[in-house]
């Protein structure tokens, strides 16, 4: 199963329509989480919202993820080692308040397991060419670095409080 998700905050009908058009040509069925969108998919099973526990189960089960550029889905995909195709929301099409998703995908482009599509043609070519699961990431040096920085800061704050 291919998992399509648009997150919970805002609709993303342009994206759902494109994937719905592509769905009949794919090797696997698509399950779509469409949020507040008005468009009702014809070629995919869908649900408006999925609770976090069920959503994580679907992430674990799917072969890959096609998603808006939301951080929550990216964290889950990394945890479960699932390849992703990201399709950023565009502010000019009133799909988000600003273009931070565009900036985010540009910054994340080239990371293992992440591919990016900017339009229907791009999405069509990526979705027809599934990728293997990305390698497991046990340690991310920059993640460890921030955790250490925050932990050290908290210790310093505690000493400061006890000292004062």
């Amino acid at each position: 199963m291919i998992l399509l998700t648009v997150g919970t905050q805002l609709p993303f009908d342009r994206f759902v329509r494109i994937v719905d058009r592509l769905a009949p040509q794919l090797d696997e069925p698509v399950f779509a989480q469409i949020g507040h969108g008005r468009y009702r998919p014809e070629n995919m099973a869908w649900q408006a919202f999925i609770g976090p526990i069920e959503f994580e189960r679907l992430i674990g089960e799917c072969s890959y993820i096609v998603s808006h550029a939301g951080i929550g889905t990216m964290v889950m995909a990394q945890k479960h080692r699932k390849p992703m195709i990201l399709f950023p929301r565009r502010a000019e099409l009133e799909e988000h308040r600003n273009d931070h998703q565009l900036a985010t995908v540009r910054a994340l482009d080239g990371r293992p397991g992440i591919r990016i599509a900017y339009d229907e043609a791009g999405l069509a070519s990526l979705i027809a060419d599934p990728q293997p699961d990305p390698p497991a990431v046990d340690r991310l040096p920059e993640r460890d670095r921030l955790r250490h920085a925050i932990a050290d800061l908290l210790v310093a704050e505690q000493h400061r409080r006890i000292g004062s």
């Binding site: 951080i71 921030l146 908290l154 505690q158």
Partner: protein, 144 residues
């Protein structure tokens, strides 16, 4: 310690930070209690959801944040945003707590609006992008 965020990506980032907070036995607050259930967070407080497109919801969330912080009286507040984190951070700082804002990794072109509002009230303010680092805008790693 109070560790707070809205649901979705902000909560996932807070959970990635959780090992750094563990020694301080934090209470958590967010807008979806099923997230706490999924991640085995026992000491959890529910806040109403809010974003800047819904002023009434935002006001409800602000009032609930004030009540929560006054009840818990945390010495420290750590948040990954967005609005519920901002509300708790401001209230806690005004009540004398020390505060840490970690701007979401989603904000790679400029700091988030709620993050900018948090700056005067945050004792420590982190960005997760090196190119956004600056005076009182610290970069020291990233969660993703």
């Amino acid at each position: 310690m109070l560790a707070v965020s809205s649901g979705g990506g902000h909560w996932e980032e807070l959970m990635l930070l959780r090992p750094a907070l563990a020694a301080f036995d934090p209470e958590f607050a967010s807008t979806n209690s099923e997230l706490a259930q999924r991640d085995g967070v026992a000491r959890f407080h529910l806040l109403p959801d809010a974003n800047r497109d819904g002023p009434r919801q935002a006001l409800r969330c602000f009032l609930a944040s004030i009540r929560l912080v006054r009840r818990l009286r945390p010495d420290m507040v750590v948040t990954t945003g967005a609005l519920p984190g901002l509300f708790c951070l401001i209230t806690a700082r005004l009540l004398g707590a020390r505060t840490i804002w970690i701007d979401s990794i989603a904000n790679s072109d400029q700091p988030s609006l709620s993050g900018q509002c948090a700056r005067p009230f945050a004792n420590h303010w982190f960005t997760q992008w090196q190119h956004l680092a600056g005076p009182r805008r610290r970069y020291d790693g990233a969660l993703l």
